[in-house]
């Protein structure tokens, strides 16, 4: 097995370091993008590059905005309760 193959396989057998910090929330972004792209791939009647990208970006932005609004609302509730 070549060194490169070994290194690639090693990457998938050792977990990454992910701290319990606010920055770890950024892992949400690639997942939201994936959800938006796959969902739009099943919904659009015809896949055309420009319109597909535009619709996926709009859905991606909607997901992020909604999650931000939810986070702020939950923070507000937590602030009121504690």
């Amino acid at each position: 097995m070549s060194l490169i193959t070994t290194l690639i396989l090693a990457d998938f057998t050792t977990p990454e370091r992910v701290g319990v910090t606010a920055l770890s929330m950024l892992w949400l972004l690639p997942l939201a993008l994936s959800v938006a792209v796959v969902y739009k791939a099943t919904k659009v009647s015809e896949v055309r590059a420009v319109s597909f990208i535009r619709e996926s970006v709009v859905l991606f932005a909607s997901i992020i905005v909604f999650m931000l609004v939810t986070a702020v609302a939950l923070l507000g509730i937590a602030w009121l309760v504690t």
Partner: protein
């Protein structure tokens, strides 16, 4: 092309569903929806691979993570092969990497399930339209 018989129609729908499970986007590829198939394949494989990269193959565990495994297996039967490696507990992973890795791989599986259902529905629609024409 003449419409398929009812039995052949069911076999065709099952084939489309099975192809979508074997390879993400495979169902759409059979339906000649090439662009859709490529997008689905790339997005689902990248999401699943990213989950394995973050949490290691230990996030796929049919013994300790049964619920997540039920969603992960929707990606492809290849997940079962990973599960055979990890069920012994040699690749145990804990904390945030486990959490994020399981979320990524499970969501990828559920997205593939959505695509399988969509491919089968498209196949049924195409067949119905062909029968009407």
């Amino acid at each position: 092309m003449p419409p398929r018989s009812k039995e052949n129609h069911i076999v065709f729908l099952l084939t489309v569903g099975l192809a979508g499970w074997l390879i993400p986007g495979g169902g759409h590829f059979i339906l000649k929806e090439r662009a859709r198939a490529i997008i689905i394949f790339a997005a689902i494989v990248l999401t699943f691979a990213m989950g394995l990269y973050i949490g290691s193959i230990g996030v796929v565990n049919p013994v300790t993570g049964k619920l997540a495994y039920a969603a992960q297996i929707m990606n492809s039967p290849a997940v079962a092969a990973i599960g055979r490696f990890t069920k012994g507990g040699d690749y145990a992973v804990f904390g945030k990497p486990n959490e994020i890795g399981q979320i990524y791989t499970s969501i990828a599986g559920l997205l593939n399930l959505l695509c399988i259902v969509n491919a089968v529905y498209l196949a049924h629609l195409k067949e119905t339209e062909r029968a009407r024409a």
